[in-house]
């Protein structure tokens, strides 16, 4: 058997995404066959850079024909089929291992990961038949969403990797493709069996952002598709649920979940979806029951459209959230911990757990608790916790989170670790870290940090020179002004600087940020804090005397601080039957 792998693609006007795809398969495939169906851009030139096997196929509205044309020109024993807006993740699995399999498999479903619509939620996995033996009767069928026909199910395996990542294209490009697909689908009425056509129509409408038009398509598809067509039926179900949710017809969606979970009693995704809907409606006690049922299911069989985690960490997370809303913080914390134990990379539970633990055990208690639980051993989690501690007002603990990782500058942090040290009362250490940074292009806010570190260390000359070098950049002038004010405040005890009207807002904001950070330092640092106090007091005095607008900004800032304290109190004690003298946070 020929063990070589050929990548087979059809493309049109994909110059932007093609390189990424082709780079990703380097070393994983032995041959690349690209069939162009009429690009007007530099797709063909790009393709030629990677492979001599570039062919032209005059477009006739039939995707399958185009792909089969490409297949015919492949020489490898195995075929990998990708689209230009996809890429392979070879680190997640080995294609060659699959070719050498002893089970007699001739075709494999590979996991396809669809990045969600940019809303931060986890993406979705489903399985697609993209890797198969060449010339054993595997061909593409269907003119629009061409499928490789599963000729011999017993010779078809499901592989856990490698992963194919699908990147949704830019809006206009996407809509153009979708529009084209819609037209093709409507034309192909006779060719595709009705339920499949309805399914694809629904997908296109959804992608165009028209759930109300997608809804009837999916409804019909769901009614007509059978369990023999699970690969279509289940996605149709999930899409239908998503339409109903978008259209705020939550009760119908819940009914649908009820029906479907009777049909598939161990399918965690439906149970999870039902729980989610109830949670959205605020019916937490009911939602809890659904999530607990979902936990009882294991992973569904491979052909089931499955969102990773619905049977484990995702349900634990939502259980935690429900209990939190019901006021049972103990249970909530327990569930968040379990979610984290199963999947430390899914960090949402960590946010909620952090707040709950903070109001229960205080800051130091939280740190110790998390340390013991092992949440500070992974870099990603430590970075998140460092950010959270800093935002909650505990810079020292933020710095401590990163200690185990050696103040790693490559951490996915929102702010520089030097800032943590600076406002933990350790300006010298902060300066050391700044030294390691490439100084030339610091963003204005980290320059401010550096200036503050310098003036707390009484090195006013160096501070001034940093500020002045930032001044020379037009995007940093306002911050530089603020820095000069701060320098003068600590050096001379006051500042006569009066920024121009158009700069005042930014200057005031910068100074207020430093005031806030210094307050955090004062409230938590163990060492010498006199200079922070001086700086804060003088800064507040300066702001009060600057202008009515800066007074207003100062008052707003204090109001925000009160609001934050109020929110924490609310989290800890709940509404307390109206005992808060004024609702926490309101002026």
């Amino acid at each position: 058997m020929n063990p070589d792998i050929t990548l087979v693609m059809i493309v049109r006007d994909e110059e932007a995404t093609l390189p990424r795809c082709l780079e990703s398969v380097k070393g994983a495939v032995d041959e690349i066959v690209i069939v162009d169906t009429g690009s007007k851009d530099r797709t063909v030139e790009t393709a030629c850079r990677y492979t001599p096997g570039v062919y032209h196929y005059p477009w006739d509205g039939d995707f399958a024909a185009a792909r089969n044309f490409a297949l015919a020109r492949a020489n490898g024993g195995w075929i990998l089929s990708l689209d230009a807006d996809e890429e392979l993740d070879p680190a997640s699995g080995d294609l060659r291992a699959l070719t050498g399999n002893k089970d007699g498999y001739e075709a494999y479903f590979l996991p396809l990961y669809n990045r969600a619509q940019g809303d931060g939620s986890p993406g979705q996995y489903h399985y697609v038949l993209r890797f198969f033996r060449n010339g054993c009767g595997y061909r593409f069928q269907g003119s629009i969403h061409e499928q490789v026909v599963v000729a011999y199910p017993e010779k078809t395996g499901v592989a856990a990797g490698p992963l194919i990542r699908h990147h949704t294209g830019g809006g206009r490009e996407r809509n153009r493709k979708r529009g084209r697909n819609l037209k093709l689908l409507q034309r192909a009425a006779g060719e595709l069996p009705a339920p499949f056509r309805q399914y694809y129509l629904g997908v296109e409408w959804l992608a165009l952002g028209r759930p109300e038009r997608a809804l009837p398509c999916f409804e019909q598809a769901l009614r007509q598709l059978t369990d023999a067509q699970l690969l279509f039926r289940l996605p149709a179900l999930h899409h239908l649920l998503s339409c109903l949710t978008h259209l705020n017809r939550l009760d119908e969606a819940i009914c649908l979940c009820l029906e479907e979970c009777r049909r598939y009693p161990f399918y965690s995704d439906v149970l999870f979806a039902g729980g989610l809907l109830l949670e959205t409606k605020g019916e937490y006690a009911a939602a809890v029951k659904w999530f607990q049922e979902a936990l009882q299911c294991g992973r569904p069989p491979a052909l089931f459209y499955h969102l990773e985690g619905t049977e484990s960490f995702l349900s634990y997370f939502h259980l935690g959230h429900c209990y939190e809303q019901m006021g049972d913080h103990r249970q909530a914390s327990g569930y968040y911990c379990r979610a984290l134990a199963i999947n430390p990379d899914y960090i949402y539970p960590l946010y909620n757990l952090f707040l709950l633990t903070l109001v229960e055990k205080g800051a130091v208690g939280t740190f110790e608790c998390f340390q013991r639980a092992g949440y500070l051993s992974g870099l990603k989690q430590s970075a998140l916790l460092a950010d959270l501690f800093f935002e909650a007002g505990y810079p020292g603990l933020a710095a401590a989170c990163l200690e185990a990782h050696g103040d790693s500058l490559s951490a996915p942090l929102r702010q520089h670790p030097a800032r943590f040290h600076l406002y933990a009362g350790r300006p010298e250490q902060a300066l050391l870290l700044f030294g390691r940074l490439a100084i030339a292009g610091g963003d204005p806010s980290s320059v401010t940090d550096e200036v503050v570190a310098l003036i707390l260390n009484r090195d006013f000359t160096a501070a001034r020179s940093r500020a002045l070098s930032l001044w020379r950049r037009p995007d940093g002038r306002s911050e530089a002004l603020a820095q000069l004010v701060l320098i003068s405040l600590l050096e001379n005890g006051h500042s006569g600087l009066r920024p121009e009207k158009n700069r005042e807002a930014t200057v005031v904001r910068t100074v207020l940020t430093v005031v806030e950070y210094c307050l955090r330092a004062l409230s938590t640092a163990d060492g010498e804090t006199a200079r922070y106090r001086q700086l804060t007091e003088r800064a507040v005095e300066w702001l009060t005397g600057l202008s009515p607008a800066s007074c207003a900004a100062l008052r707003c800032y204090l109001l925000d601080r009160a609001g934050a304290a109020g929110k924490l109190a609310m989290l800890k004690f709940g509404p307390a039957g109206g005992f808060w003298p004024c609702p926490a946070g309101r002026p």
Binding site: G327, P548, A569, P581
Partner: protein, 656 residues
């Protein structure tokens, strides 16, 4: 013909109680049968005074046998049975006669009011009990303890009908503290119950009684176990289920098993959503656990419940003054003094004898700082004509160091006899604190050595002289006191008082008792404004002693407005215990009073970081921010007195 009513009783050594009982049934019953199981006191004689038929029955550890013996002797148509520590309430006799005349009913449940607590403060707890039934030779009691007849009658006559008759009221005094202690009833009952349960382990009602008895014996864990067992698989319609649930909760609570208790409360509320007791205990548990917000909700729900039928045996005040009082305490935790006052007043209105509410009201009125206002408010609130009430108020004012109004009320109430001299002592202290030393000394002189308060009176005389700077007289008194014989701690304190300042090393280091006295003297000294004397007193203590007691001293200075001294001592304590939230909070208050706002913010945040469990820390911080915002407006108005535009900006931002 009028039906005949027989009262049947079993007694043993009840000479204290039986008279009250027999007096109360005069005219209401036609015959009295008293079965005595072995009295060694005058019980039988007293019974015969009321023309009871007394029969002796040798006690055989079986209540039913004894009671049945009394039934055997009864010749009436109806049987009423009471215990010696009960009495028939006035007016019930009439109802008794009327109901006995009826045809259709064979037995009545009547109301019983159990009094709990001690003489002087009784709390009623109502319940329903079966005490009146038609006399028949087959109707006999069953069970060696907590003997039952309700089921027996139904077994013998399946057409028997029962009814409740709440107009018949029995008053029961057997649960009063004194009574229970005297009799050792509990141990006897426990033994009997255990034995009976061993014989009939399936008897739920008996197990319930066993659990309740264990609770009374303070064996809370066991009580909870037994009660839970009794509740296993019980029919939700069982009439004593509410009482059972209540006792389970009480037992778990007393055994500090909070989570199980809350779970039972939750289940109980599903069955009985208006059962105020469950809400009340839920509130108490949450309060103890620091879940103040939930506690508030529970108590408010308790207040909102409609009344429950008598057989729920609801604890007195859980829908009223008790819940209100707890809400008052909680409101204070949230620094909401208006709500706190409102609830304390509600509590007092619901039960004018509930002293804790009154104490809290007085405390909140700040009588030391505003005596006139405090008096006016109180007089509007309640009537204090009687001398006893005036004394009570006087004492409460005294507790709050509000010596002027205290004196007034104490004098109003001093018409009563005063053998111990306690009131005189209070009066003397009040006078001294108003610098009316002569009058104070005159009262103190009137004490004679036989009185137990004599040493304290002499001590106060010493203090009067000390405050007046009359060292020689003070020293003389000190000699007298030493001669009387004081504890070593007290001696140390006295030596400190008469010692000469500046001479020699500070050596005094009194123990706990002595320190308590010293701190009391310190407080009174500062109340008089004698700052110098106070410092001198403290200087006589060793550094270690001062350090150990720094927070207490700081607190006193703070209370009397000496901010600098308070700060000094609190900083010492902070150095010792950097993680003491209370110290940090007090220091923050001082900074705030001095308008050092940023420093105050810093300290409140630190307090909050140490102890995130107290609502007041959050509240103080939020209020401080508001104060700071106000002060900015004030400053801005001075710096930018210009046209309205400037102020408009401030307004705009405020509306954001």
């Amino acid at each position: 013909m009028e039906p005949k009513i027989s009262l049947c009783m079993i007694v043993k050594n009840e000479e204290q109680n039986i008279r009250r009982c027999l007096k109360s049934v005069a005219g209401a019953v036609d015959e009295i049968i008293v079965v005595d199981t072995g009295s060694t006191d005058a019980t039988a004689e007293i019974a015969r005074e009321y023309r009871a038929r007394v029969h002796f029955f040798p006690w055989n550890d079986n209540f039913s046998d004894a009671r049945n013996a009394s039934l055997d002797l009864a010749s009436g148509d109806w049987i009423l049975f009471l215990d010696a520590d009960e009495e028939l309430a006035a007016g019930s006799g009439e109802a008794l006669r009327r109901l006995a005349g009826g045809d259709a009913v064979d037995g009545y449940f009547v109301q019983i009011i159990n009094y709990l607590g001690s003489e002087g403060y009784l709390e009623p707890c109502a319940d329903l009990v079966f005490r009146l039934f038609r006399n028949h030779k087959d109707y006999r009691f069953r069970g060696s303890i907590h003997e039952q007849i309700v089921d027996v009658i139904l077994e013998k006559n399946n057409r028997a009908r029962y009814r409740a008759a709440e107009e018949i009221v029995i008053l029961h005094y057997g649960y009063l503290d004194r009574q229970i202690a005297e009799k050792g009833k509990i141990d006897r009952n426990l033994t009997l119950l255990k034995r009976e349960l061993a014989a009939t382990p399936g008897n739920r009602l008996l197990r319930y009684h066993y659990g309740v008895e264990l609770y009374r014996a303070k064996k809370y864990k066991e009580a909870a176990e037994q009660l839970l067992q009794a509740a296993q698989g019980i029919d939700p319609q069982t009439i004593y289920l509410p009482k059972l649930l209540r006792h389970i909760v009480l037992s778990c609570y007393a055994a500090c098993e909070y989570a199980p208790a809350l779970d039972i409360i939750r289940q109980g509320l599903e069955l009985f959503p208006h059962y105020a007791d469950l809400y009340y205990y839920g509130g108490m548990i949450c309060f103890d656990r620091g879940e103040y917000g939930r506690a508030v909700e529970f108590f408010q729900q308790a207040l909102a419940t409609p009344g429950q039928p008598v057989y729920f045996a609801s604890f007195y005040g859980v829908r009223g003054f008790r819940a209100c009082y707890q809400l008052g305490r909680l409101a204070e935790m949230f620094l909401n003094e208006d709500e706190a006052m409102r609830y304390y007043v509600l509590s007092l209105r619901d039960n004018p004898s509930f002293l804790p509410a009154l104490e809290s009201i007085i405390r909140l009125l700040r009588p030391r700082e505003e005596p006139a206002y405090a008096k006016k408010c109180l007089e509007q609130l309640c009537d204090f004509c009687s001398p006893g009430a005036a004394l009570l108020l006087g004492r409460m004012f005294f507790q709050q160091q509000a010596y002027v109004p205290a004196l007034e009320y104490l004098e109003r109430g001093a018409t009563e006899g005063n053998p111990d001299g306690e009131i005189s002592l209070y009066r003397a202290v009040c006078l001294a604190q108003q610098r009316r030393f002569l009058e104070a000394l005159r009262i103190l002189d009137s004490f004679h050595p036989a009185q137990p308060l004599y040493p304290l009176a002499r001590m106060n005389q010493l203090l009067c002289f000390w405050w007046q700077g009359k060292q020689r007289k003070a020293k003389d008194l000190a000699k007298e006191l030493f001669a009387l014989g004081l504890s070593p701690d007290t001696e140390t304190v006295v030596t400190l008082l008469i010692g000469t300042p500046g001479k020699g090393k500070p050596e005094a280091a009194p123990g706990e008792g002595g320190m308590a006295l010293l701190l009391d003297i310190l407080a009174r000294t500062l109340d008089l404004g004698e700052n110098e004397l106070a410092s001198r007193l403290l200087e006589g203590l060793t550094t270690d002693c001062r350090r150990q007691n720094a927070v207490a001293v700081g607190r006193i200075y703070h209370r009397y407005g000496y901010l600098d001294a308070a700060e000094h001592y609190l900083e010492i304590d902070r150095h010792e215990h950097p993680d003491c939230a209370e110290t940090l909070s007090l220091l923050a208050e001082i900074k705030e009073k001095r308008q050092e706002y940023l420093a105050a913010v810093e300290l409140y945040q630190r307090a909050l970081a140490v102890d995130p469990g107290k609502p007041q820390h959050y509240m103080r911080l939020i209020r401080l921010y508001e104060k700071m915002r106000q002060s900015i407006i004030q400053k801005a108005e001075q710096i930018f007195p210009g046209p309205d535009d400037a102020h408009k900006i401030l307004q705009e931002a405020a509306e954001k």
